[in-house]
């Protein structure tokens, strides 16, 4: 009985921001933002993104486009992934300083 009630009550709305068109736009904005971060990596990061990620002010426009295109939880998720990737890179590159310890 609960199942029939569910199927008659379920809304007909479709969340279009997880469908492929919006998704692809989100991925493009995200990639543009991270490419900007790579390009400007020598600049000092002053602006604060989410989950502790910092980025230089040159990438502000990319950041805004990115945040507009993607859901906030997705933005946090991708930022966290990027930070983890950066940390691993740093650890892999930094194998000189602790040699012999």
């Amino acid at each position: 009985m609960a199942l029939e009630a569910y199927s008659s009550q379920a809304a007909d709305s479709v969340h279009s921001d997880v469908l492929s068109e919006a998704r692809i736009a989100c991925y493009k904005a995200r990639d543009a933002f991270y490419a900007c971060l790579e390009k400007e990596s020598d600049k000092k990061p002053t602006e604060s993104a989410s989950v502790g990620l910092l980025y230089p002010a040159e990438c502000k426009k990319n950041r805004e486009a990115y945040v507009n295109q993607c859901r906030p939880t997705w933005v946090k998720h991708f930022d966290r992934q990027y930070c983890a990737k950066k940390r691993v890179q740093r650890l892999l590159d930094d194998n000189e300083s602790r040699r012999g310890v």
Binding site: A2, L3, E4, A5, Y6, S7, S8, A10, A11, D12, S13, V14, H15, V18, L19, S20, R23, R71, P72, T73, W74, K76, H77, F78
Partner: protein, 223 residues
């Protein structure tokens, strides 16, 4: 002096004897009860726990598909089923897994002539309504059966398949669902053969499924 005769050397106090008799009766009763409840090895219900193989996962299900119709395990019996638990709002892993499932089904059908029914059960039923699920799945492969339902039904099937899912990163109305993104291969008798994680690529998945199906003695009733 009065010598007491042997017959009066019995214990005058009846309490210790009756207590012992009572304990003996209780032991006998518990033993009788246990023997009555015995389920011999190999018998028992279809979905009971197996002592040495671990819990038998899988079980009856009763959910709503994307057309609003009720789907139970009777609709799935007789097919090999590839069952995936996911949700549409996944940032990256979800769509990749569904794409992998669709491609694997294609490879299996074209190269190995094996028909496997792909099923997507959402673990986010509050946002994944039947119509939304239909639109989402149509972008990948409309052969995938999308299943949703009230939260209690989803919770029950997740419990049966031992699927972990948890809302995380809640921001207002928005949230992500942490889950293992496992795919389960189910034989035509509705028994779970094995599970595949995200580490399997499309080709590896197709190969592993082919191996399992060829190894199994149960043939698909439609093949």
């Amino acid at each position: 002096m009065v010598h007491r005769r042997d017959s009066t050397l019995q214990a005058q106090d009846p309490r210790p004897g009756s207590v012992l008799a009572g304990i003996g009766g209780l032991v006998l009763f518990i033993r009788h009860n246990d023997e009555k409840r015995v389920v011999l090895k190999g018998e028992g219900e279809k979905y009971e726990r197996s002592a040495n193989k671990g819990p038998i996962i899988g079980g009856p299900l009763s959910l709503i598909d994307t057309e609003g119709q009720i789907v139970t395990e009777k609709n799935l019996i007789g097919n090999w089923v590839l069952l995936y638990f996911g949700y549409t709002s996944s940032p990256d892993v979800g769509p990749a897994e569904v794409r992998k499932m669709a491609n694997t089904i294609d490879i299996l059908e074209s190269r190995q002539n094996i028909k496997v029914l792909p099923v997507f059960v959402t673990i986010d039923p509050q946002r994944d309504t039947p119509s939304h699920l239909r639109t989402y799945i149509r972008e990948f492969d409309s052969r995938i059966v999308g299943l949703t339902g009230p939260v209690a039904a989803i919770r029950q099937i997740a419990q049966e398949y031992r699927v972990f899912f948890k809302k995380i990163d809640e921001q207002g109305d928005d949230y992500l669902v942490d889950t293992s993104h496992n795919m389960y291969l189910i034989n035509p008798n509705m028994e779970v053969e094995r599970s595949f994680g995200v580490e399997y690529s499309t080709d590896e998945l197709a190969e592993a499924i082919t191996k399992e199906i060829k190894k199994s003695k149960i043939t698909n009733s439609q093949n």
